[in-house]
């Protein structure tokens, strides 16, 4: 029944804007990290990594929050490096 957006792939700037909106979440913590990640880290990801990130954004907020805070680890191994990078994105100088 879910009508979650963001799962369709689209090339170009439009896709970037779509992702930017998917980074708007119900928790400030996620907004801060996802927004920073999208701006500084996302552009240098490989295409498969970019697809993983798009998939990651489909997860529920508390789920993402738990993974980032290290309370739980993601069952999908493709998410692990992204979660690590999200944890570091604000701490970088």
């Amino acid at each position: 029944m879910s009508r979650e957006a963001g799962s369709r792939e689209r090339p170009g700037a439009e896709a970037g804007e779509r992702l930017r909106w998917q980074c708007r979440r119900g928790m400030l913590e996620l907004d801060l990290l996802l927004e920073s990640f999208l701006e500084r880290d996302y552009p240098s990801l490989s295409d498969p990594e970019k697809r993983d990130f798009t998939r990651l954004l489909e997860m529920q907020d508390p789920q993402l929050h738990d993974w980032i805070m290290g309370d739980k680890s993601p069952d999908d191994p493709a998410f692990s490096p992204l979660i690590l990078a999200l944890r570091e994105t604000l701490g970088q100088p």
């Binding site: 009508r3 700037a13 708007r24 979440r25 119900g26 801060l32 805070m69």
Partner: protein, 599 residues
């Protein structure tokens, strides 16, 4: 271009706890319900609420709704309407049982009953010993509630418009609300949703302050839509700040840190709370600590290059205690401030948390506004519930756990009243094309490549040229001039600066004119809304010459019941203020007269 139109019995703007609980009442009565949300429903801000929801179930300690009512009236610093408060505290009990039946996984006692935590401001026997009134689903109460409500709505065939942004309400000459103009974010196409009744449930507006615990979506859109439709906002000067947010980020650091022995220091390394609250020190009330922090900074004793924060020390507690008693704090500080609190103190600043004010409603969720010179009247077809509304149950300050309660109780009350309203008003009223044109013009405005000065609000040559830059300037002005520390001087300067920002916005144009997923355009619309709401906050705060609850004016340090036991109403037109009496008569019990608020 012809504008696509859809018709529903009810339009609900907002899919948080308030909107979804209302929708559920309606779908059950066979009405056609549309719910519009700018983000996917389960990403609404309700998901962030961890603490829980209050109800006098008396599962852990003795309790009654009447004690809950007393605490809420007292917490509101006697500015809450006592009929609405009585209603909310009575309704709390069936509301929580309803959630239980919907499958919200509340934490339980061994007996199987719902577990209840003790929160600040809860008492037994009208101000006696601590009560335990907060029901929680582990540390994800908001998520559990939102998720259950969403699933129920899917089952009930509520029609969701996900990622649609509401632009403005439509109103006819008689003042009746006819629906709203919305924008599909993906396609960039406008859509007219006509409805016999419209409920605004768009949540809070914490983003108007630079440092906030609120998610980015909390831009006060519904409040600003009401203002533009000629409806005032009530009690906007009352904004709750949490003393310890991570500086520059806003993320909350729980009170528990100070409870476990953490303390604040200023740029000179001094434990300054000793000066402000010699006994309670770092454990003094939220407002006392928040004000002390800002005073230290304003007097030049802040930390860092810009001296714009203070430090929260926990390193003396040791790694083991931090790990066992304050799990999560170390990670939070590391991830959001880039420091390890075992070794270094955490930079903190008060963070804007909750808006007590909003769109004025009665206890049925109906929007009420003064009609001309006369008494207040119901706005036909318009409802509001949740953080965007002001029922008013929180008055000058909200108690923890009462906000989830407010959104659920008044969401449901609004849903019930809408059913009755539609029985009596079964037909759609004709659309007001003038009102529609006005709403569309707001959209077209941001599609222009160059701004032509429109009407009297002459565009000022912009000093800043992007929406983002202006947004940051605006949020800083709000924090510095209408935040925790407010005097006649800061507020009147603030209002002047806000007027200038309002003009600057009119001089900015967007570079991106693509239709599809044009986030820049949404952000421009949001900034317009934030500025309208910011003006309401600053103007109302300037008007109220007393200190009450969360509104503290060092230049008028005392509560003044003789002159100020009244609600403020701010109108966008001419930035005008009016006042209306507090409803101090409850539904069935005796009124609680104002007393000194001591804890």
């Amino acid at each position: 271009m012809t504008l696509p139109r859809r018709r529903f019995d009810t339009l609900i703007i907002g899919a948080g706890g308030a909107g979804l609980n209302a929708a559920l009442q309606l779908a059950g009565s066979g009405l056609r319900v549309a719910v519009v949300s700018k983000v996917f429903p389960t990403r609404s801000h309700t998901v962030a609420a961890q603490g829980g929801v209050n109800a006098a179930l008396a599962n852990v300690l003795p309790d009654t709704w009447h004690w809950h009512m007393f605490d809420t009236v007292k917490g509101s610093d006697y500015l809450g309407d006592q009929d609405a408060i009585e209603f909310m505290c009575r309704e709390a009990i069936p509301t929580v049982y309803d959630l239980e039946h919907m499958g919200v996984p509340f934490s339980r006692l061994d007996s199987g009953k719902i577990y209840q935590r003790a929160f600040g401001g809860q008492s037994q026997d009208f101000g006696g010993p601590q009560a335990a009134r907060t029901c929680a689903a582990a540390d994800r109460t908001g998520h559990a509630i939102l998720h259950a409500l969403y699933q129920q709505n899917i089952r009930a065939r509520t029609h969701f418009f996900d990622e649609y942004f509401a632009i403005d309400l439509l109103r006819d000459d008689e003042g009746a609300v006819l629906g709203a103009l919305v924008l599909e974010i993906e396609s960039g196409e406008p859509l007219l949703i006509e409805a016999k009744t419209t409920l605004i449930a768009t949540g809070g507006c914490g983003q108007v302050f630079r440092t906030t615990s609120n998610a980015r979506i909390n831009t006060g859109d519904g409040m600003a839509m009401a203002l533009r439709a000629g409806i005032p906002l009530q009690d906007m000067e009352f904004f709750q700040f949490h003393p310890t947010g991570i500086a520059g980020k806003g993320k909350l650091i729980t009170e528990g840190v100070r409870g476990e022995g953490g303390y604040l220091i200023n740029g000179e390394g001094e434990r300054f709370m000793e000066r402000y609250a010699p006994n309670a020190r770092d454990l003094a009330g939220r407002d006392v600590v928040a004000r002390a922090i800002v005073t230290e900074i304003m007097e030049g004793r802040g930390c860092g290059i810009n001296k714009d924060y203070v430090l929260l020390r926990v390193d003396h507690l040791g790694e083991e205690l931090i790990a066992s008693r304050l799990p999560g704090i170390r990670e939070s500080a590391r991830i959001f401030a880039g420091i390890d609190p075992v070794l270094e103190p955490i930079p903190v600043f008060p963070t804007a948390h909750y808006s007590m004010g909003g769109i004025p409603t009665d206890r049925f969720g109906r929007v009420v506004a003064p009609a001309g010179e006369g008494a207040e009247e119901v706005v036909p077809g318009l409802y509001a519930a949740g953080e965007c509304a002001c029922a008013s149950v929180h008055g000058a300050n909200r108690l923890g756990g009462n906000s989830l309660l407010d959104i659920l109780v008044f969401g449901r009350a609004a849903g019930k009243d809408i059913v009755e309203y539609i029985k009596e008003n079964p037909h759609h009223r004709p659309m007001s094309e003038a009102s529609l044109d006005q709403a569309l013009s707001r959209l077209l405005y941001w599609a222009q490549t160059e701004k032509k000065p429109s009407g009297k609000g002459k565009a000022k040559p912009a000093k800043v040229t992007s929406v983002r830059e202006l947004r940051e300037e605006f949020r800083k002005v709000m924090e510095d001039h209408a935040g925790v520390f407010r005097t006649h001087k800061t507020l009147s300067e603030g209002v002047k600066l806000l007027k200038s920002i309002r003009k600057q916005l009119a001089g900015i144009h967007l570079k991106d004119h693509s239709k599809v997923f044009n986030v820049a355009r949404i952000e421009a619309l949001e900034l317009e809304n934030m500025i309208d709401v910011g003006m309401a906050i600053a103007t109302s705060a300037l008007g109220r010459k007393e200190s009450r609850g969360a509104h503290s004016r060092p230049d008028f340090a005392a509560r003044d019941d003789r002159q100020w036991m009244k609600h403020s109403l701010y109108f966008k037109e001419k930035d005008r203020l009016e006042y209306k009496p507090v409803r101090s008569k409850p539904m069935t019990v005796k009124s609680f007269p104002p007393m000194e608020r001591t804890y």
